[in-house]
Symmetry: C3
Subunit: 273 residues, 3 copies
Amino acid sequence: MLGECLKSVREQVPLVHNITNYVTVNDVANVLLACGGSPIMSDEPQDVEDITTICGGLNINIGTLNERSIEGMFAAGRRAKELGHPILLDPVGAGASKLRTETALKLMEELHPTVIRGNISEIKTLAFGSGTTKGVDADVADAVTEENLDASVAFVKDFAKKSGSIIAITGAIDLVSDGEHCYVIRNGRPEMGKITGTGCQLSGMMTAYITANPDQRLEAAAAAVCVMGLAGEIGWSHMQEWEGNSTYRNRIIDAIYQMDEAILDEGAKYECR
Amino acid sequence: MLGECLKSVREQVPLVHNITNYVTVNDVANVLLACGGSPIMSDEPQDVEDITTICGGLNINIGTLNERSIEGMFAAGRRAKELGHPILLDPVGAGASKLRTETALKLMEELHPTVIRGNISEIKTLAFGSGTTKGVDADVADAVTEENLDASVAFVKDFAKKSGSIIAITGAIDLVSDGEHCYVIRNGRPEMGKITGTGCQLSGMMTAYITANPDQRLEAAAAAVCVMGLAGEIGWSHMQEWEGNSTYRNRIIDAIYQMDEAILDEGAKYECR
Amino acid sequence: MLGECLKSVREQVPLVHNITNYVTVNDVANVLLACGGSPIMSDEPQDVEDITTICGGLNINIGTLNERSIEGMFAAGRRAKELGHPILLDPVGAGASKLRTETALKLMEELHPTVIRGNISEIKTLAFGSGTTKGVDADVADAVTEENLDASVAFVKDFAKKSGSIIAITGAIDLVSDGEHCYVIRNGRPEMGKITGTGCQLSGMMTAYITANPDQRLEAAAAAVCVMGLAGEIGWSHMQEWEGNSTYRNRIIDAIYQMDEAILDEGAKYECR
């Protein structure tokens, strides 16, 4: 079933407007192309409304935000809402600075994003108004584990219900919930954390997935998480022992490029709670 | 003959000032180094005049333009004109937003660029004042094909004559014209469209080529197009079946790095009309 | 002994705040992860103080500086000083424009960076107030060679003493001095100059090294230089004859990722004067 979401992306080639950080933007663009979507980047307030208008979905990522790009995020978001486009919010570093936390909270409040995707510390910051984010990486103390899985699932369902957004928390175990159901996903490898921007890449790809699958957005968001994790597993299988994180980055994007329905349906490791 | 243009670049190591988008800027820098040039990036209005002064050519790319960088584009462009430096304009996304279309038209009008390089939809937007650009990619309906080649060649010659710029339209078939002659180039592979920024990379490299070949700029622009397409063919020959667009990006830049006069003269596929 | 500095980085995982250019920022982030550190990027004046506060060290790189990011550099720098965090200054393009030269001099004067790392032309610009920088690359006439080594060592010691900063000049021969001692390092390969941003990458990594080794910062800075050069040698050993600068970039970062105490202590080529 997740494979069908992938198929829709490849068939529809959704055009995704990205307002994203300059650290990982090139990888986000290449991942969007690899998965079958089409990327366009624009953050200038005078430019974003026109760009959002010709796109199908909007990906807002607050890493390396600045005063001007924040204005662009709100302008693009309002236009996307008017047009009924899906919006994804990636609250990079929420909890690490007042500006990031407040911007993420305001975007959430005003835009009611279709999906909010972050690590556990960022999502807890949005849920509780403050967090213990260690920079742009999750705090180990927060991590979703087999031991606290029931409580974590309950938390993500509850926050999804309260916020009205699909919530995707990614880490060793990934959780994706719309408030009623929760996908628990166990694809991926720990070495993915040694590559900058795998989270940003997933947010870009997930926006393509929810854009191309308007009638099953929860499944589409979960499918994107599985694709990313599975690509991490496949990419790793092609690594030489002397290779490291830079080559691994390429191999993961390559595996997304090669992914098809059958590979995804066979390799996706998830349960629905 | 195109090989001589390549040789000039490698001998002269032209320093190219790039005002370019933050999506593909790293690849533009590496391609400039790979082809034998030297890149410098600067978009701050207070910085650009000094930087342009020490360079030999200027590459203006309007992807991810903003209010400040637009000011930088005009300031650098005016200075480059005073110094007689060649200017290349890459109108990324012209036709996709009012700001992009108007900025590209104003830059064209005020700077009279030596070369304008874009996809067919962007160039049609500049020629007719409005276009059907699908984001930053060309509209399929606009594509240059064997069927409409005569009309396409007539269009590019006409626009080159009227604008006074060399016009380079890249796609499955590439056209490069100064108004009198038109190179029709058939190098390249369709998979290059699945890598972000091959157009931006070509614009950077082409600026190095026209800078190092002041007496034969049409040939130099055509040579750069052939180098990019041929590198796409050579890079593809080194791909493993499980590799994708991320590795392909590296292999194309590697092939540009390894390209020499003999490889180019043997592999370039063009006719002159 | 340099190996111990590497070990400290891997054990402590220093969080490094980077205000750096958008050309090479992705590679800087991946190199920081590869060497055992953790990167965060932020340049918005309203954001940088909070971000610096949660980090251990600050890396200021003036490539693609703009009015807003310059304000961010000073705000972050002042906060880092209050907190006693080490600061590294990478004066990219000092000597190439008035804005870059003046900004680097003001940052040096106000922040008294722990380390200043640049090429010989940039460092001479800071020492003498003006330079002959050719864009962002060193002028060949300035290069540190075996012939002028005694004079070069004397210059770097003198400038380190006067400035109160550790000075790291990188090129074919690298010099790192605190005013008393000077490491002369001969790792690396000339082909590294054909990759954009190996200097920026080194500055990011060096900030992690001086952050994790507060009691031996000179050794830590020298160790980072050896790691980078040795990774260039190891990465080169894995190159196919048809590969070029794009793949070489990946292989160098991969080699940093794989580097351990033993590899570094065996491969580091330095003398102390």
